[in-house]
């Protein structure tokens, strides 16, 4: 038999246990909207029985632990998924920038007829394709009539074409710079996260002896997930609840120590890559937004830049080959048509922009109105070029545009797919770790009622103790 004081002690421990339950429910409610928070549950277990002559007798209950509702395997899946999502988000962002830089869109206005599936009229391109068309049309018109107006129109169309190429060269350069900056920022963010993780490892290790450091574990998990969006990470469990982090085969966090950090380096072509800062080990990343950015920059964007530069140099070479062999209307020669060698440097000879009549479209020094070379230049529009894989200028450019479109479309689809998977995993984790207000309110009432009952037990035992004391006092009197 426990006796009144033991029962009072039982009631007191019960009050503490239920109070802990109320506190945990309150903690959960307070963090209902906290990102990365895992709901906690209090473990209340029966105290060891006391052996009595009539058999084992219960001694109440104690709050033995506060545990997180966490699925470690699911967290691992989410980290892995973050790496994949980060990779495609990096690709999508880079390729979207490239598509905007290319500025090749279709524009048009719809007709009011609503019954046909083919209502649109006057659909035109907006970028280089339009300028190529205008350039060759201007020379076709010049071939038809060698007037000063047409000479001026041809030179103006050539200037517009060159300016568009220049803009593309500039835009691609800016996108490249922006992607390098994005990579540098990602590296900086990763280093900050590595520092945070090491620091949290230390705090967790220090707190392990006094129970589960649930909120620290949540914070570290959040940092690991953020890091996994930036790059592919491998984790392993260390001593004292710590987590070691490895990137690209290099261990960067070992226990509570950041053994190395990341930095960008220039391999010589201006396109930054990632290495370890102290060790100087060049890393081969396999996922995350860093590698997504690198792959988009060194893959699709580089191909796009090369294609546009090759197109520009081929236009320059082919047009100059024809024009430079000719004579102007007074039999003069010596004025090359295009200057420069690529998209960024292409320009129309300033002598021609100053005086379009100097354009050399006559095949004979004595035939000033001969336009046969203008016709030849206009016919370049439909001529295949060996330097462009035996495609015409337009076909080559159109294929380049479609190549970028394919890459971005694929990235868009991947992002959509990965978002769906991420959402499913987030929902699954939320169903395990997320806080439900209804549930917590119910728990709150449960613990409140239990607390009230335990308090009633204290009152009852107190009354009984009073009765006992009064009984003793009464008999003494």
């Amino acid at each position: 038999m426990l006796g009144l004081f033991s029962t009072l002690n039982l009631a007191s421990r019960s009050l503490q246990a239920q109070m802990t339950g109320v506190e945990v429910a309150g903690q959960n409610l307070a963090n209902v909207n906290t990102t990365g928070y895992s709901r906690q549950t209090v473990q209340i277990t029966a105290s060891p029985d006391a052996n009595t002559p009539i058999g084992p007798e219960g001694t109440g209950a104690d709050a033995t632990s506060i545990q997180q509702a966490v699925d470690a395997i699911l967290n691992g899946q989410i980290q892995s998924q973050n790496t994949t999502s980060g990779y495609w988000n990096g690709q999508q962002s880079a390729l979207q920038d490239a598509q905007n830089a290319l500025d090749e869109f279709l524009s048009g206005s719809s007709s009011t007829s609503s019954t046909s599936s083919t209502d649109s009229t006057d659909t035109t391109g907006t970028g280089l394709s339009s300028q190529l068309n205008s350039f060759f049309s201007a020379f076709s018109a010049l071939a038809s009539s060698n007037s000063y107006t047409n000479q001026q129109a041809a030179v103006t169309a050539a200037q517009s074409l060159a300016t568009t190429f220049n803009n593309l060269g500039t835009q691609f350069g800016q996108v490249n710079t922006a992607l390098n900056q994005s990579l540098t920022q990602d590296v900086s963010s990763a280093n900050q996260l590595l520092t945070n993780i090491a620091s949290l490892n230390q705090e967790i290790s220090n707190s392990e002896s006094s129970g589960n450091p649930n909120d620290l574990l949540d914070a570290r998990e959040q940092d690991l997930e953020n890091l996994s969006q930036l790059t592919n990470i491998t984790t392993s469990t260390g001593t004292g609840g710590t987590v070691n982090v490895t990137i690209g085969g290099q261990t960067l966090v070992s226990g509570d120590t950041v053994s190395d950090t990341l930095q960008t380096y220039d391999p010589g072509n201006g396109n930054l890559l990632v290495q370890t800062a102290s060790g100087g080990v060049n890393l081969t990343l396999t996922g995350g937004s860093m590698q997504g950015t690198i792959d988009a920059r060194d893959g699709t964007l580089a191909t796009l830049q090369n294609s546009v530069n090759t197109l520009a140099s081929t236009v320059i070479t082919q047009v100059n080959n024809v024009q430079n062999s000719g004579y102007n209307s007074t039999g003069g020669t010596g004025n090359t048509f295009f200057t420069g060698t690529n998209a960024a440097t292409m320009a129309v000879n300033s002598a021609l922009t100053g005086n379009p009549a100097l354009i050399q479209i006559s095949a004979s020094a004595t035939a000033g109105d001969d336009t046969s070379l203008a016709l030849q230049i206009s016919q370049l529009a439909t001529a295949t070029q060996s330097g462009l894989n035996n495609q015409t200028f337009n076909d080559s450019y159109d294929a380049t545009v479609a190549g970028l479109g394919d890459a971005l479309s694929n990235a868009n689809n991947q992002v959509t797919d990965q978002t769906t998977v991420s959402n499913l995993l987030a929902t699954q984790r939320s169903s395990i770790s997320g806080v439900n207000v209804d549930e917590e309110m119910t728990n709150l009432m449960t613990y409140q009622r239990a607390y009230e009952a335990s308090a009633q037990l204290v009152t009852t035992v107190n009354t009984m103790l009073g009765d006992t004391i009064n009984m003793v006092s009464g008999s003494a009197a």
Binding site: S110, D398, S430
Partner: protein, 314 residues
């Protein structure tokens, strides 16, 4: 499955965002009439459309070239008609000399008429295209009028000099098709486009033949007039008739090419629309569906958000 409270808000926001994006895309399609605007929308359709647009631009330019050539061809035809009249007048003089008694006075009058005809031919041969101001019969040479004359003390033309050349410019009128309506004044090479005034293939040499006729009229050499001069003028007439026929053939070719360019342009327009245009009926139906789904999501979401156990405990 257990559902956390903030799962509602997260999922609802995702759904709202998706539905708004869907409506935005459909609204853009409805307002522009284009289902494909960016390369990533449909890379294959974009490539096809850009290729078709390039072809359409060429067809538009072919139409412009054809229109310019038709105008130039009409001007040339008018000149050819004038020359036909001139040659007929000269031929009538040779016939008149051969068919009636002529005296020195009448021959002198005929000579004056031929002098006038010579000046008319020079003027016609130096005609310009009113649209461009370029000489019509100077070939591809530029700068000076195709014909300059040498005159004697009486002001009679004794010789003519051709300042042009035998080449003509070609214009693009279709894919791989070029055409010229121009006629050089002289062609003594025996190949290429025949000369309008002088042509070695046909034996035409109108101005020199008229000068010979005038000289023979002035000298009273009726045998030469009715023989050599008449025969030479026949060659000139035949040559101009050939040029008229040739002009007609070119005009027919231009009409055919213009029809083809218009037809090709329309076909390409249809192809571009087929590849890139939005089906407005489908677009509007899809837009209505998306709006309905959005309203339903908003209403159901707001109702779910209002419900909690807190509404029932006190």
């Amino acid at each position: 499955m257990r559902v956390a409270t903030n799962s509602y808000t997260g999922e609802m926001l995702d759904q709202f965002s998706s539905l708004v994006a869907q409506q935005d895309n459909l609204q853009s399609q409805a307002s522009t009439g284009l289902a494909v605007q960016a390369p990533s929308d449909n890379p294959a359709a974009m490539e096809t459309s850009l290729d078709d647009i390039a072809q359409q631009a060429r067809q538009t330019q072919y139409s412009a070239n054809i229109s310019a050539l038709q105008s130039r061809g009409d001007t040339i035809y008018s000149t050819l008609e004038s020359l036909q009249t001139i040659v007929s007048s000269a031929s009538e003089i040779t016939t008149s000399v051969g068919s009636a008694d002529t005296n020195s006075t009448s021959l002198a009058n005929y000579a004056d008429q031929v002098n006038s005809l010579i000046n008319q031919v020079v003027s016609a041969a130096n005609a310009k295209d009113p649209a461009t101001g370029q000489y019509l019969f100077g070939g591809t040479a530029s700068g000076t009028p195709p014909y300059t004359t040498t005159t004697d003390a009486n002001g009679d033309v004794t010789a003519v000099t051709y300042n042009g050349n035998g080449s003509v410019n070609q214009s693009a009128i279709g894919e791989g098709q070029t055409l010229s309506v121009d006629i050089p004044g002289v062609n003594t090479s025996g190949s290429g486009p025949r000369g309008l005034i002088t042509d070695s293939q046909s034996g035409a040499d109108l101005l020199n033949h008229l000068i010979s006729l005038r000289n023979d009229l002035q000298s009273g050499d009726t045998t030469a007039i009715t023989g050599t001069d008449a025969a030479n003028l026949q060659k000139d007439e035949n040559n101009i008739t050939y040029q008229v026929a040739n002009n007609g053939v070119a005009q027919t070719q231009l009409t055919t090419a213009a029809t083809a360019a218009t037809s090709n342009s329309q076909t390409l327009n249809t192809m571009i629309s087929s590849a890139s245009s939005a089906n407005l009926v489908n677009t509007m139906v899809e837009l209505n569906s998306a709006q309905t789904a959005y309203q339903a999501a908003l209403e159901s979401g707001s109702k779910i958000m209002q419900l909690s156990i807190l509404n029932y405990i006190s």
